[in-house]
Amino acid sequence: MTTLTDPPKEQFRLSMLLYDTRYRSATIQVIALIGFMLLAAWIISNTIQNLEALGKPVEFGFFGEPASYDINQRLLEYDSRDSHLRAAFIGLLNTLVVAVLGCITATIVGVMVGVLRLSNNWLIARIMTVYVEMFRNVPVLLWIVLAMAILIEGLPAPNAFRGENPTASMDLFNSVAVTNRGVYIPEFLFSRSLGDIHIFGTSSLRFDISLDLIAFLIVLGGSIFTMRKVSAWAAAKQESTGDRPKIWHIQLGILFVPMIILMTALGLYLGYPELKGFNFKGGTHMRNSLIALWMALSLYTAAFIAEIVRAGILAISKGQTEAAAALGLRQGRIMRLVILPQALRVIIPPMISNYLNLTKNSSLAIAVGYMDITGTLGGITMNQTGRELECVLLLMLVYLAISLSISAVMNWYNNRVKLVER
């Protein structure tokens, strides 16, 4: 008979937290965390106490007060009697406008420049190199200021369009006015408009959605859905018979005919800008500040994107190009069908951070007087109410939210295109 002895029961002693390597790192982390939290709590309470001693306790009530200032570019209706919150909301939309426009333009320009920089054409490749190096190595603020200065000094004032012998004239069959106060382009108007839906009643976040726009999107969505069905049908036919039926005229019809019918039903007409009084009236007014900021941000970011695209393309082995060429594909198609889809996997992650940079750089808008959220909430509102801490914290939160949303969307896209490994 053998006697089994219990394995020695391990007794937990406090000293093991420090001397046992299994627990030590956890101990250190817990202590560090507590220390960090104490420090944070001390700083925050110190700030609150000091602010209270100054007679400026942290509170957000000022958001309900009338803003009392006007904003020139407003996507939603706003006047100086609206609240500071409303002004911040208008500013937020302006930030988003320039960020979205900037990201789209930067991507298009960046991809083109990146591809062209690899061109065999010596001149084009060199020009693109000069562009990239110039924009990448000068602070974006200078580009923004320069763009604004060019627009203001280089373009004619509305006054130059006036009189018997105007020194400036409108372009594109008298429909577009390019002035040093911005570009006025024709706008779409509907004589039998469906009207708007009002959302959120009279609160600060209220906005209107045009039913015309919704109708347009529904029809467009329907057309695109049908077009995809048709092209799936064509692909199936090609699979089974080897013949690809000609469908481009059907596709065009599907895209345009319902749209034209809708537009006629709504009574579409163009509102042209016209010189009235001090300024052009009518049409859509794209202000100089928006154009300067948009152009400078996109060209600056495009230089970085170009380098990312170039790196992505160079990361695809030359064998791919050669194999595609051996199959008889032409150069443009090799790039579009073989190289870029693979390069995209390398390109997307660094691209995200460039989109974030562009969005954050848009806070330089005040240099050209573009009323983004930094200009409204972090500028005039902060100045008029004297609530620095509240405004800055809120501003940070807003940028954080925007950035995280962009990251989330781009990460989702990245997950879709990345190589699925098994």
Binding site: N279, N383, G386
Partner: protein
């Protein structure tokens, strides 16, 4: 990441709040220099001259305070501030006083926690337009594009004026006077609006000042004056009474020309004696020496001299005394007695 961001902001604010607590008179004396916030450049009020020396009407107040406290009118560090940055600079302790044609309003005094020590220029908001525009009244400006310095009371007055007259306008917000000038001269805005004194000063720097007119409407009261932080009354008193010394000096006929003679010994006028420190202990009460008033006035002359030298009718800016004349001449300049 979010936490660290908040932490950073909190630290900055905490430090700022801490700095505001100390006694400013002692700080300035220990530093040997007065940090004075001025504009980024408005000729006549505060702008560096050809030698890089700051000159102007607001600058003279800074110099007088420096002379009174430190005995040296040149011991001033001028900190250029924009309409947006000025209050943060003062609240955070970066500057000891702000002399930047800043309008005294209720909310700035009470809510922003500043102390306006007086008024050194009674102003009002006006409009400047090119003569070629053919506008003779601000009420004809319907639809005009207006350049406006952002973060100022003028921005709010403008909104109110156009709203109450039921006319529309397009605001072009601008950070500094120089940028406004550039946009205005390029025709990117039809109108430039700010305090009438500022408009006159800006117009004086134009190549052809005669091509631009100031419209007759003055749409607001803009009492401009130096200010300090709330809570430090000793410092507030020093700045207040330095300004009053300049005003009183003009009223009492003390000028740079006769000040040495008047301060050589007691004169027949006891108030002059108290002002110049040959009688009484006013300086001691302020925490300064007896000659503080003498030095303040010597720095740039009395209020009238400062006005005439920087913005008066003899200068290119050519502002009349108007409301800023002594009360004895029908103006609003009125210093409490030195007693």
């Amino acid at each position: 990441m979010k936490k660290s961001v908040i932490l950073g902001a909190a630290t900055v604010a905490g430090l700022a709040a801490g700095a505001a607590m100390a006694g400013t008179v002692d700080d300035v004396k220990a530093r040997g220099k007065l940090n004075c916030g001025v504009t980024t450049g408005l000729v006549g009020f505060a702008a560096p001259d050809a030698n890089g020396e700051w000159q102007g009407f607001d600058v003279a107040v800074c110099r007088a305070v420096a002379a009174a406290v430190l005995g040296d009118a040149s011991a001033v560090e001028f900190v250029p501030t924009t309409g947006k940055t000025r209050f943060t600079a003062l609240a955070s302790g970066e500057i000891d006083m702000l002399a930047r044609n800043t309008t005294w309003t209720f909310s700035r005094d009470v809510d922003l926690k500043f102390e306006f020590v007086g008024v050194n220029y009674y102003d009002g908001q006006g409009f400047m337009v090119p003569k070629a525009l053919g506008v003779s009244s601000a009420k004809e400006l319907d639809g005009a594009t207006v350049c406006i310095q952002t973060g100022t009371t003028t921005e709010l007055n403008l909104a109110d004026f156009f709203r109450s007259n039921n006319i529309s306008y397009e605001p072009v917000p601008i950070e500094t006077n120089a940028e406004a000038q550039q946009q205005y001269l390029a025709g990117a805005c039809d109108v430039y609006t700010t305090d009438a004194s500022g408009l006159a000063a800006t117009r004086a720097t134009f190549e052809n000042p005669g091509d631009h007119v100031l419209l007759p409407e003055i749409i607001s009261k803009e009492p401009l004056g130096p200010l300090v932080r709330h809570g430090d009354h000793e410092w507030g008193d020093v700045v207040r009474w330095t300004l009053n010394a300049l005003v009183s000096a003009e009223e009492l006929g003390v000028t740079s020309a006769n000040i040495d003679e008047l301060s050589a010994g007691a004169t027949d006028n006891p108030e002059v004696n108290r002002l110049l420190g040959t009688e009484g202990t006013l300086g001691e009460m302020l925490g300064l020496d007896a000659q503080w008033g003498l030095r303040a006035i010597k720095a740039g002359g009395n209020y009238g001299e400062v006005f005439a030298k920087n913005i008066g009718e003899e200068t290119p800016i050519g502002l009349a005394r108007g409301l800023n004349a002594q009360w004895t001449d029908g103006g609003l300049m009125y210093s409490p007695p030195f007693r």
